[in-house]
């Protein structure tokens, strides 16, 4: 499903965040990308999500080489992924429900159907009762669950997350880990960049350890 071959990412100024990284992630697998800060975890997640382009090497997702994508094709590729960001990137000028509806509006789902699916996603993460709340009124854990609802509402084939449990108390972090395990159980491919030791120790999936931009 995801095949990286000699993947390198060099930023302007010469800093090489990833150097010749190769790996393979099968459909339905759960993989944790681990490593210290600056190891290249976030860069790798961004490359898989087509938020950034590799400097060299190839990255094939669902048979599509992301390195050779035309700019106009990128948005359509991104729709296959559910993205969860470390800082959640929620929109604070609208309700929780409207935040979750955004990916559905992007694909042009009729309003009534979008509301129905967004409510189902909120229900899945235990936030249906707070659908009208502004994200600013939610706790850190709730905000992260809201971000997860937004990521899964479009039924993505791959769920990508960048430090989803960072800055959360242990109980909230456990809720998030449980949610990911639930999605993994129903066959969603999950790639998580994390340095959450508790998760790394108890994860039943594979781990991809990065150090200074290389797989170790």
């Amino acid at each position: 499903m995801i095949v990286a071959n000699s993947l390198t990412k060099r930023y302007p100024g010469g800093f090489e965040a990833l150097s010749g990284v190769s790996f393979q992630i099968g459909a339905g697998e759960m993989v944790l990308i681990t490593g210290h800060s600056g190891a290249g975890k976030t860069t790798l997640v961004k490359l898989i999500a087509s938020i950034e382009r590799p400097t060299s090497g190839s990255l094939v997702v669902n048979g599509q080489n992301l390195s050779a994508l035309r700019r106009s094709a990128i948005p359509y590729v991104r729709r296959h992924f559910g993205m969860i960001f470390q800082d959640q990137k929620l929109l604070f000028d609208r309700s929780a429900l409207d935040n979750v509806m955004l990916p559905l509006q992007i694909v042009g789902l009729p309003h009534r159907e979008a509301v129905r699916r967004a409510q189902a996603a909120l229900d899945k993460v235990g936030l249906l009762a707070r659908e009208k709340a502004n994200p600013i009124a939610l706790s850190g854990g709730e905000q992260q669950r809201l971000a997860i609802a937004r990521a899964v509402v479009n039924r993505p084939t791959v769920l990508l997350a960048d430090e989803p449990t960072a800055n959360l108390d242990s109980a909230s972090a456990q809720d998030i880990r449980t949610l990911f395990a639930d999605f993994h159980r129903v066959g969603v491919t999950i790639v998580v960049a994390t340095h959450d030791q508790s998760w790394i120790q108890h994860c039943q999936g594979n781990a991809l350890r990065l150090d200074h931009g290389r797989v170790v």
Partner: protein, 299 residues
């Protein structure tokens, strides 16, 4: 198709919400756009009224066809039948006796006419063509003058040409004003949309990361610019109606002083629709320029 419509409906609803979200700013923008559209549009309305005035002014569109003094009845009948075959004209026949009677009624001429031993006036036709352009009038005059037994075909072409030149100059001025203020409208929309893009930066960034296409992001801004332009067109129409209402009285009084009557014509539904459409197109253009430049920072 359903999805496409759904996206457009959502974009339109979002742009309406954005317009209503800051009513004072929206009002100021609409006023600026309305004034920018009013000046050239009002110039157009004034020119249209002047053209109407020129048409209704006596003699402007008339060609007097004077027959030779010795022209017989059958010659006059021949000219009359030729005139009947010409498209787009109206004509009246003025017999020489009738012309003399009219001249006798004139205070200044009565004495002179009375002293004449015989009627020196020829029979004449007064021709009123529908096409009042100087070129068309001149061509018609030349044709009429070439007909048999026609002594002279007279057209006050200098007056018509001067008036037409004035109208053309006015038209050019209105076009220049329209270009200038159209650019102003684009600039106003450009700036409004630029501020909108800055205000919606977070949403744009997130939307792009989760698969929004450029057209999805641009669409609400396009609708916003076009809506603003259309509403600005309506404001301009209102201002023009108000100005015409204020001018109607003084113009009527002025016309009465010259012994005539003149009513200012307000723009019709078609003109108002054209003004709103022009505002909408220019607003869309301003939005397109602004959004294209502003979105580069998200690449």
């Amino acid at each position: 198709m359903r999805r496409w419509l759904s996206q457009h409906r959502a974009a339109l609803a979002l742009s309406v919400r954005r317009l209503l979200a800051a009513p004072f700013n929206t009002l100021l923008s609409l006023l600026a756009i309305g004034i920018a559209l009013t000046l050239p549009a009002f110039g157009y309305v004034v020119l249209d009224n002047l053209r109407e005035l020129g048409r209704s002014a006596s003699g402007v569109q008339e060609i007097s066809v004077f027959m030779e003094v010795g022209a017989a009845r059958k010659d006059i009948a021949e000219i009359e039948s030729r005139l009947q075959t010409l498209p787009g004209i109206r004509f009246t026949f003025v017999p020489r006796d009738e012309a003399l009677k009219r001249l006798q009624k004139s205070e200044e001429m009565a004495e002179i006419v009375a002293s004449l031993p015989r009627n020196p006036l020829p029979d004449a036709f007064i021709v009123e063509p529908a096409d009042a352009s100087p070129e068309a009038l001149d061509v018609l005059r030349q044709e009429l003058a070439s007909w048999p037994k026609v002594a002279h075909a007279q057209l006050d072409s200098a007056w018509v040409k001067r008036f037409d030149a004035f109208l053309r100059l006015g038209k050019l001025t209105v076009l220049m004003l329209a270009g200038l203020f159209g650019a102003g409208l684009v600039a106003v929309t450009f700036n409004t949309i630029r501020l909108q893009v800055l205000a919606q930066a977070a949403e744009i960034e997130v939307a792009r990361m989760i698969g929004a296409t450029d057209s999805f992001i641009r669409r609400p801004f396009h609708y916003f610019g076009a809506l603003q332009g259309v509403l600005g067109g309506l404001v301009a129409s209102g201002l023009i109606f108000a100005a015409l209402h204020l001018l109607a009285g003084p113009v009527g009084e002025l016309a009465a002083l010259y012994g005539g009557s003149f009513v200012l014509h307000a723009p019709g539904v078609r003109e108002i629709a054209a003004l709103c459409a022009a505002g909408g197109i220019l607003g869309w253009l301003g939005a397109q320029l602004s959004v294209s430049l502003s979105l580069r920072r998200f690449d």
